[in-house]
Amino acid sequence: MFKKFSKEDVHSRSKVKSSIQRTLKAKLVSQYPQLESVIDELIPKKSQIELIKCEDKIQLYAVDGEILFFQKFDELIPSLRLVHKFPEAYPTVQVDRGAIKFVLSGANIMCPGLTSPGAKLPVSPGFEKDSIVIINAENKENALAVGKLLMSTDEISSINKGHGVELIHHLGDPLWNFSVE
């Protein structure tokens, strides 16, 4: 999604009304229920969310110049900086060491990288197809990417072939390096 992304892709910037800000926060909590306890720390009540509309109908939401989450269609997707602050709240999968290199250059994650000994998938029922997952790596503390499941986690472990996770946002991609001044 952010293979190519730069300042030129920004169309408009505007401040979000506080009422809309409230619904946004509610939506974020409903998507990731565990965020509820820390939502006021992540986005303090007094803070001003800024909406940055970009090319391809991508919308970024920033607080204090830091992009916290973004949205392409209806779903809110947390940015990695937000993920790092509170990783427990999101569905997580883990890839093995061999995959890190490819993930960091933006490749989709193949099923074998998610099923090998170093990797971890949640025990069933697991996650549905199309849900947003954060991708962690073997022996690493922090997440390295955010993706969308192309098949359910049960299917990944049974089929074990082809693309498993579509990569949306990874460490070192243009969004990671993007700064709102």
């Binding site: 900086r81 509170f86 093995d96 060491r97 960091l104 503390e141 922090n142 070192g172 990671w176």
Partner: protein, 200 residues
């Protein structure tokens, strides 16, 4: 439950556990050691005498098998070498390029100063133009010159101040030896003093 503070590497901007994949591992290590020595000890072990060896030993417990680990290691080294080469080339390019500051007469006593060749140094032209505008209290804009390159145009005769400012700016970036070329289309003081007399 509370928020977690994550340290990001000052060199490659990744969390420090991923520095080894950034291709700038050497500089990352130096940075981490200077700024967060406790984290350095955690990730790279306390004996840095044999850092590459220590790292491979640590990775021996990895699950993906010796062969793949070896390949990965090789790839990472390659990446690192590539990155280093690239950086060197870039530095060379920076050092060999020069900044051109040009003064042009507009009407009799009015001048504009045009600065070009700054884009190599990763300087935001628009921002710099803005600072010049407020610093000298003149109009200042970014425009394209004859070679289709961006240049900053300042309204007003401020060539000396601009030169000093750009010198300090480059020095801040650690590029002291970059050449500044100053092109003055007319002699400095004579035209401004003689022309009014001629017209009288």
């Amino acid at each position: 439950m509370s928020l977690r503070e994550v340290v990001y590497c000052g060199v490659c901007s990744y969390p420090p556990d991923y520095c080894e994949f950034s291709g700038k591992l050497k500089r990352c290590k130096v940075w981490l050691k200077e700024n967060h020595s406790e984290l350095y000890d955690k990730y790279y072990g306390s004996d840095d005498a044999e850092d590459v060896n220590a790292l491979t030993n640590k990775l021996a417990g990895s699950s993906i098998g010796e062969e793949r680990e070896g390949k990965l290691e090789k790839d990472l080294l390659k990446l690192q070498a590539k990155e280093e080469n690239r950086q060197q080339r870039e530095l060379q390019k920076k050092l060999s390029s020069k900044v051109i500051i040009k003064r042009e007469a507009r009407t009799k006593r009015k001048f504009i100063v045009a600065i070009s060749g700054l884009e190599v140094f990763e300087i935001d032209m628009k921002k710099l133009a803005k600072t010049f505008a407020s610093k000298f209290a003149t109009g200042c804009s970014v425009s394209k010159n004859a070679e289709k390159k961006e240049e900053i145009v300042i309204q007003g005769d401020v060539i000396d101040e601009v030169e000093a400012y750009i010198h300090s700016l480059l020095e801040e970036k650690g590029l002291k030896d970059v050449k500044l070329e100053i092109i003055d289309t007319k002699k400095k003081k004579k035209p401004t003093t003689t022309t009014p007399e001629n017209t009288k």
